[in-house]
């Protein structure tokens, strides 16, 4: 029998199916919507889209953010309850991407929100998003 800490035990009880908040902003969202559709059905893994951040586990930042929308994203992040995960999609969140010389977009997402996982691509394919969610389950399983 493996001895696990209290935190690991609670995490294993809570994270069985992850719920995603509906912050579909900028280009990357166009490859998150087929995940809800009937070809790459995400409900068979237990994931659904919820309408309020207080019920959500995961926040997807799917692409570039401007100075106006990053303020709203920060307020949404503060309303989510622990345990929470932030996943950054696309190359615009890493170094500025295609709009590196624009005066109004932010260049490094880690200066504004604590990011847990980056997915490269422009935009990343739906299979890559599923692999990222699989990594969350893996991480919870290996927690001590």
């Amino acid at each position: 029998m493996v001895k696990r800490s209290k935190k690991a035990k609670t995490m294993r009880k809570i994270i069985k199916a992850i719920w995603i908040f509906n912050w579909f902003n900028s280009c990357g969202f166009i490859e998150l919507v087929p995940l809800v559709g009937s070809r790459w059905d995400m409900e068979r893994f237990g994931m659904i889209i919820v309408g309020t951040p207080r019920h959500a586990d995961v926040l997807f930042i799917a692409g570039y953010q401007t100075l106006k929308s990053i303020k709203r994203a920060q307020r949404v992040y503060e309303q989510m309850a622990e345990p929470r995960v932030v996943i950054a999609l696309g190359s615009c969140t890493m170094t500025g991407g295609m709009y590196w010389d624009s005066y109004n977009t932010i260049k490094r997402l880690e200066d504004y929100l604590p990011v847990n996982l980056y997915i490269p691509g422009c935009p990343p394919r739906p299979e890559a998003v599923f692999e990222a969610c699989e990594k969350i389950f893996q991480h919870v399983k290996e927690l001590q």
């Binding site: 902003n25 809800v36 977009t105």
Partner: protein, 374 residues
């Protein structure tokens, strides 16, 4: 003591922000003032996606701009690619080969079908029909697989329609695959035409826009055709090969949300007809002009200015390009259809509407915040 309910005192309107984190609104916010159940006034709040495209294009050469022009509106990238490529072609005086013109029209019409499928999906979810949304996005993937076969990317084709023609020719077997996908689209349209009774109540008579108001507020495309005016840029000033093709322009007179939705479905049928005709008449030959074949990164554009208008899925799109004998454009102004639909038309239609009708009106205008903010 509940036998007498007093009406609310005067000036007790409350503010309601239908904003970007709302599940029914997309990347755009509208500030509503509401009195009971009626909207008194609406004020649009754009700017969540502003990147400054017009000046970004001044730092890049035309071939680099072809890749950037996909991202003007993420829901219909190939149509915007076409507008930009036509502007550079006319400025430099290039005559595009025949086979390239046919291929451009086929890709643009497939992209229009794909964009109308998204419109059907989000309009269904706005009026409470979730199954329509899931089914629409399932069928849309057939077209995205076609795009991946021909251009290399599911969503962004990396500047496939570039100045001078298209980047590469169709691979072997593409023609049969396109015909099979069009059969699947016919099947989907038959399913879409079986309407549910809830649509009658939620969409008929809601959000009426008269013709005089539509022209004064600057509406174009399906919004103007739904109010009764028969106009289409593909028929008024034909570009590429649209003057050789035979298709109709659907028009309705009521101007409500149901009329616009019906026009979306009819336009899909006409686009399927156009693609079948273009595939039959596809000639052989080269697909790029010789000077763009091995593209040198610096190409000089002669002095001049052009204004090109095209019909994208949402309305009239235009590019005004000025060149000053450099290797980059001096000024590139982009006019999108949604700039007019989302600010003046939406504020006019939402006044006096009931709060439960706000999603049906909002999604029937087929908005795309990315090409409003640019």
């Amino acid at each position: 003591m509940i036998d007498e309910i007093e009406p609310a005192p005067k000036d007790s309107d409350y503010d309601f922000y239908f904003g970007p984190a709302h599940p029914g609104s997309g990347n755009f916010g509208v500030k509503l003032k509401i009195d009971g159940e009626r909207v008194v006034s609406a004020r649009a709040d754009p700017g969540y996606l502003h990147r400054g495209f017009e000046k970004l294009m001044e730092y890049r050469t035309p071939i680099q701009n072809a890749v950037l022009s996909d991202r003007l509106c993420v829901l219909e990238p190939l149509n915007w690619n076409l507008v930009h490529a036509e502007a550079v072609d006319e400025l430099m005086g290039i005559d595009v080969p025949e086979r390239a013109k046919y291929i451009r029209v086929i890709m643009a019409e497939l992209s229009r079908i794909q964009s109308h499928i998204i419109w059907y999906g989000v309009f269904s979810i706005g009026t409470g029909f979730d199954t329509g949304f899931k089914m629409a996005f399932g069928y849309r993937d057939y077209i995205l697989d076609l795009f991946e076969l021909i251009t290399g990317g599911r969503v962004y084709p990396a500047g496939y329609i570039c100045p001078g023609g298209v980047r590469r020719d169709f691979p072997n077997g593409a023609r049969d695959k396109i015909l099979k996908v069009l059969d699947k689209m016919d099947e989907m349209i038959k399913l879409e035409e079986l309407e549910n009774p809830a649509l009658d109540v939620r969409a008929k008579g809601v959000g009426i826009l008269k013709v005089k108001d539509a022209i004064r507020l600057g509406a174009t495309g399906p919004v103007l055709r739904g109010s009764g005016m028969k106009t289409d840029v593909r028929k008024d000033e034909p570009y590429e090969i649209y003057d050789r093709l035979d298709f109709e322009v659907p028009v309705r007179n009521e101007g409500d949300a149901y009329a616009r939705y019906w026009i979306g479905i009819e336009e899909m049928k006409q686009s399927i007809k156009i693609v079948k005709q273009a595939l039959e008449d596809l000639p052989d030959g080269e697909v790029t002009v010789p000077e763009f074949k091995r593209p040198k990164v610096k190409v000089k554009m002669p002095q001049g200015e052009v204004y090109i208008r095209n019909e994208v899925a949402r309305g009239e799109a235009a590019v005004y390009m000025v060149s000053d004998e450099g290797s980059e454009p001096y000024r590139c102004k982009i006019r999108g259809p949604d700039f007019l639909h989302m600010i003046p038309v939406l504020e006019c239609l939402l006044k006096g509407a009931q709060i439960a009708d706000v999603p049906a009106i909002y999604w029937s205008l087929n908005i795309c915040p990315a090409d409003m903010d640019r």
